[in-house]
């Protein structure tokens, strides 16, 4: 079997056109899930009544079931019970599904990092009269983030690749286009390798940004 190198090269720019979908969906989901995970982790730390067991259930469900199943239930299952949900577009469903799923993982990452912040830091904040929320925002969270960044980077890279699952909802992201390209040309290896190179490039860039961020956050501790 021959490898059509020209086709491989030609498919790169064709696929690159759709990087913005993969990247856009991943970044937006990352941000939404980050916000949700902060709420989850605050509930966890305060052991808020009623909400605490619910948040544990949430995390358990979204970590314990396949993302594909969650996307199916969200996009196809729920509209059969609540017909008004059928107005949801595949982009919206993808963003909601990925965000809800990823928040469960992020909240566990954040929980671990927050536990790693020395307890005297909270004491110091309270002793100067700060509220718990001010303490979290100004002192505890920034310190936890430093510990969390490597895991967050890992999580984001995972999210980028998982976003390809949203093709079942009809969101044609970059891997979907590679599949269709392959189906059209019968050049599977070429198309898939092209998309692999693009994914790899993305993660290299993200890894670079992550290390820069890590360096910045490390400054107070050098």
């Amino acid at each position: 079997m021959k490898f059509d190198f020209m086709y491989f090269l030609e498919s790169l720019p064709q696929l690159l056109k759709y990087v913005y979908i993969t990247l856009g969906v991943s970044v937006v989901s990352m941000i939404i899930s980050f916000v949700i995970s902060i709420v989850l982790v605050l509930i966890d730390r305060n052991r808020t009544k009623v909400l605490y067991p619910l948040s544990r259930l949430y995390i358990s469900f979204f970590r314990g079931t396949p993302l594909l199943v969650q996307l199916f239930v969200l996009y196809f299952g729920l509209p059969q019970i609540f017909p008004e949900m059928a107005v949801m577009t595949s982009l919206q469903a993808a963003l909601i599904g990925l965000s809800l799923n990823n928040a469960a993982y992020l909240s566990e990452i954040l929980r671990g990092s927050l536990n790693g912040v020395e307890s005297n830091q909270m004491d110091a904040c309270l002793s100067v009269g700060m509220t718990k929320l001010q303490a979290m925002r100004k002192v505890i969270f920034p310190q936890a983030i430093r510990v969390a960044v490597p895991s967050l980077g890992n999580n984001f890279i995972g999210l980028i690749k998982e976003s390809s699952l949203t093709f079942v909802l009809g969101l044609a992201e970059i891997l979907a286009h590679a599949k269709m390209l392959a189906a059209e040309s019968y050049l599977y290896m070429e198309s898939y390798l092209a998309v692999a190179v693009i994914y790899w490039g993305l993660t290299v860039i993200i890894g670079w940004l992550q290390r820069r961020l890590e360096y910045r956050l490390e400054v107070p501790y050098l």
Binding site: L126, S127, G129, M130, V139, P142, P220, L222
Partner: protein, 255 residues
Amino acid sequence: MISVQNLHKSYKDNEVLKGISLTVEKGQVVAIIGPSGSGKSTFLRCLNVLEQADKGQITIDDVAVDIANLTNKKTELLRHKTAMVFQNYSLFKNKTVKENITMPLVTVQKKSQREADSIAENLLAQVGLSDKENFYPNSLSGGQQQRVGIARAVALNPYAILFDEPTSALDPELVGEVLQVIQSLALSNMTMIVVTHEMSFARQVADHVVFMAEGYIVEQGTPEEIFNNPKQERTKKFLQQLSVEKQLVVKELVI
């Protein structure tokens, strides 16, 4: 005036404070001494409400609180009356030396950044750390960190400053510089409660010495009374033990 009446605190079945009552006049320097586990630190933390006592009354300046019906609002008011200096310094690790001092002023006391900056610069000059204002805590020695900790507490302009074994974590050669700062504060008429193991310091600086053991105040009085004429057996035993330990340390050093 600081007035504490019948303060109790337990952790599960372990009663740490068994009814502490104490009065501290404005401008007074009170040293609390006693064996470890006697409840000294817990007492200070209860005054700052880092720990909530189980029952008792606390009055600091114009804020009077009965622990039985402590509200969030009251907690806040009481906390604002005191500032704390910790054994392990507890500086904000993600903030520079200067930010450690200005951040509470801006976020809690709503001072302008400029005003906070000038307060910080002033105090850092007083504790001899002007050249370190943009350093992070991790790059300072323990003695320097503790001096920043004291400056942070003073900046808040509290009614009283609570010192929780401020020199216990320091290398011996760094103890002096910190004690010097505390001593100069005492001279400026700041109300202070100092939990300490430095007996010579307590003797020199304190107006009033409190000896605590097993959750009680066993004896209190002037440094003269406590160190030279202790009345209670428990106090005598503690002071004797200390001098024996000191001799042992000296012996070890000689050998």
